[in-house]
C-alpha cells in the first residue's frame, strides 16, 4: 500500500472563537472546502470518517453529519482516539479503499471547546479529586517532571520547542495566536501546573478541518491538482492512564513510528520536515525521542540551538501547530504536512521531499503516525 493512496484535498474553517456555530456546521464547511480543494464533487464520496467531538460526546454523530451533507456512505461512523483519531481514520480509509469497501473518503473533525464546553479538559480523575488531582495538563506535567528528574531535561529546552513553534505560527495568517515568543518570555511565563508553564500549553480553539482520501490512480482520473502520497502509517496505544503507566517517559509512539517507517521504507534520517502533535511541549520532546530522531532522554539537548525551527535540521510544526495555529486536536498537522509536500506552506522548507506527521490523544495515551511524500 506504500504510496498507493493520496490526500487529494484539504479544507478548514477559521480557527479561534466560533460562537454558536456548532460542530455539525463547522464540519460541513471543512468538508465543502476539502472537496473544493480536491476539485471533486460530493457525489464522488462514498465514505465518511468522523472524529467524535472531544468537548461533548454525541451518539451516532457520524450519521448526524452524513445527514447534514446528504450522504449515504458505504463506510462511515465516528472514531475515538482523542487527537490520534485523524491519522488513524486516514489510515482506516486507505485500508477500506484497498479492501474494495469504498473509493473516496472524507475524513473530518470539528470541535468547539472555546465557546462550547471545556469540561473534557478540566475533569477530575474520579476519587483522586479529593487529593486535588484535576485536569489533562496535570497528567502531562507529571510526565514532564519525571523526564526532568530522570534525564536532567531543563525548562529552557522545553522553551526551545515553544519558541520555534510559536514563531512559525506568528508567520501564518490563519493562526489563532500570532504572538512570537522568546526564550526569556517563555521562562517568565507563569506556572499553571508546575513544571508546566503557560507557554508549554496549547491553545483552546473552535474549528474544523477535513481531508479527502483516495487512490493515486483515482486522483489522476479526477484530475486532482496536488495529490500528496501517503507512504506509511502506524498506530500504538498505551492502555494505562498516566499514574499506572509502568514507565512514565515511554509511550507506544515508538511502535507507531516503527510501523509507519517500516511501511514507508524510510528511517528518521530521511525526514525533511515534521509535524509533531504539540498539545504540550513535553509531548513533542518525547515524540522526537520515541520516533528515533534522538535517543530516549536526549530530547532536551537535541532540540537546542534552533534545530526544530525553520532553517534548522528538522523544522517542526511549520504552521504553528496546537501551540499557535489552533488548539484543534491534530488535523492542522496533517494539513500542514500536505502543504509542505505541495510546496505551499507559509514557512516552506526548501526542497522538502518527506514529512512525518504525529497525532496523539489523551495524555500520551493514543498515538498515530503518517509519512507523506512529494509527488
Amino acid at each position: 500500500m506504500r504510496g498507493k493512496y493520496v490526500i487529494a484535498g484539504i479544507g478548514h474553517t477559521k480557527f479561534g472563537r466560533l460562537p454558536g456555530r456548532g460542530t455539525i456546521s463547522m464540519n460541513v464547511e471543512a468538508c465543502r472546502n476539502a472537496l473544493a480543494d480536491a476539485g471533486i464533487e460530493k457525489s464522488a464520496v462514498d465514505a465518511l470518517f468522523v472524529k467524535v467531538p472531544t468537548s461533548r460526546y454525541q451518539s451516532m454523530y457520524g450519521q448526524t453529519l452524513a445527514e447534514a451533507i446528504a450522504l449515504q456512505p458505504k463506510v462511515g461512523g465516528v472514531w475515538d482516539q482523542g487527537g490520534a483519531t485523524n491519522i488513524s481514520m486516514i489510515s482506516f480509509a486507505c485500508m477500506a479503499i484497498d479492501a474494495g469497501q469504498c473509493e473516496v473518503s472524507l475524513v473530518t473533525l470539528a470541535d468547539d471547546p472555546k465557546t462550547g464546553t471545556r469540561q473534557a479538559y478540566e475533569k477530575a480523575w474520579g476519587d483522586d479529586a479529593a487529593y486535588g488531582w484535576f485536569s489533562i495538563a496535570a497528567g502531562y506535567a507529571l510526565i514532564m517532571q519525571r523526564h526532568m528528574a530522570e534525564y536532567g531535561t531543563k525548562p529552557e529546552q522545553f522553551g526551545e520547542i515553544a519558541v520555534a513553534v510559536r514563531n512559525h505560527g506568528a508567520n501564518n495568517p490563519h493562526a489563532a495566536l500570532r504572538l512570537p515568543l522568546t526564550l526569556d518570555k517563555y521562562m517568565s511565563s507563569p506556572f499553571v501546573v508546575e513544571p508546566l508553564r503557560r507557554d508549554d500549553i496549547c491553545l483552546v480553539s473552535d474549528g474544523a478541518a477535513a481531508v479527502v482520501v483516495m487512490s493515486g490512480e483515482r486522483a489522476k482520473e479526477f484530475g486532482v491538482k496536488a495529490p500528496v502520497k501517503i507512504l506509511g502509517f502506524g498506530q500504538g496505544h498505551t492502555s494505562y492512564d498516566v499514574p499506572l503507566r509502568p514507565v512514565l517517559t515511554e509511550t507506544m509512539a515508538k511502535a507507531s513510528a516503527e510501523t509507519a517507517f517500516k511501511m514507508a521504507g524510510l528511517s528518521p534520517k530521511d525526514i525533511d520536515v515534521a509535524q509533531i502533535y504539540d498539545c504540550y511541549t513535553i509531548a513533542v520532546m518525547m515524540t522526537l525521542e520515541d520516533y528515533g530522531f534522538c535517543k530516549k532522554g536526549e530530547g532536551g539537548k537535541w532540540v537546542e540551538g534552533g534545530r526544530v525551527a525553520v532553517g534548522g535540521e528538522l523544522p517542526i510544526n511549520t504552521s504553528g501547530g496546537l501551540l499557535s495555529e489552533t488548539g484543534m486536536p491534530g488535523m492542522q498537522h496533517v494539513m500542514e504536512g500536505v502543504r509542505q509536500m505541495r510546496g505551499t506552506s507559509v514557512n516552506q522548507v526548501k526542497d522538502a521531499e518527506t514529512c512525518v506527521v504525529s497525532n496523539q490523544g489523551g495524555i500520551m495515551t493514543t498515538h498515530s503516525t503518517m509519512i507523506l511524500s512529494r509527488q
Binding site: G126, D127, Y131, G132, F134, A141, L142, A149
Partner: protein, 130 residues
Amino acid sequence: MSFPLPEPTPLSKPYWDALADGRLTFQRCRKCQHAWLPARAECPECLAAEWDWQTASGKGRVISWVIYHHAYHEAFKDKVPYNVTLVELDEGPRLVTNIVNPEAGIKAERPVTLKIEDEHGVALARFALV
C-alpha cells in the same frame, strides 16, 4: 462550595473503610499474585476475578509530582500552590496522593511513609517524605 470527596462503590468501599480504620489496603490476585490499585473487579494481569484486600506496609517512593498554581476546583482555591504526587508502594500498587511535608524537598525516588489524614471527615492516604 462542596469538597470533592470520594464516592465509594460496592467495589471500593472496603478500601475507604480500611483507611478510616487506619489501614491502607490494596488488592492482590489469588491466581497470579499481582497487586493493584485502584479497586477493580478483575485482575488486570490474568483477568481472574478472585482476589483479596491486603494491608500495605505504608512504605513507598516518589515516582513524580506536580505543583498546582491554578485551582481547577473552587475547594482548592485557597490551597494553591499544592502538590499532587504519584507514589509507588513497596508492594507495587501506585497512588495519586499528597506529600504532607513538601518543604523537605520532593524528589523522584525519595522514600515516603503513609500518613493518613482527615479531609472533611474522610480518611485520605497521604504520605510524608522520610
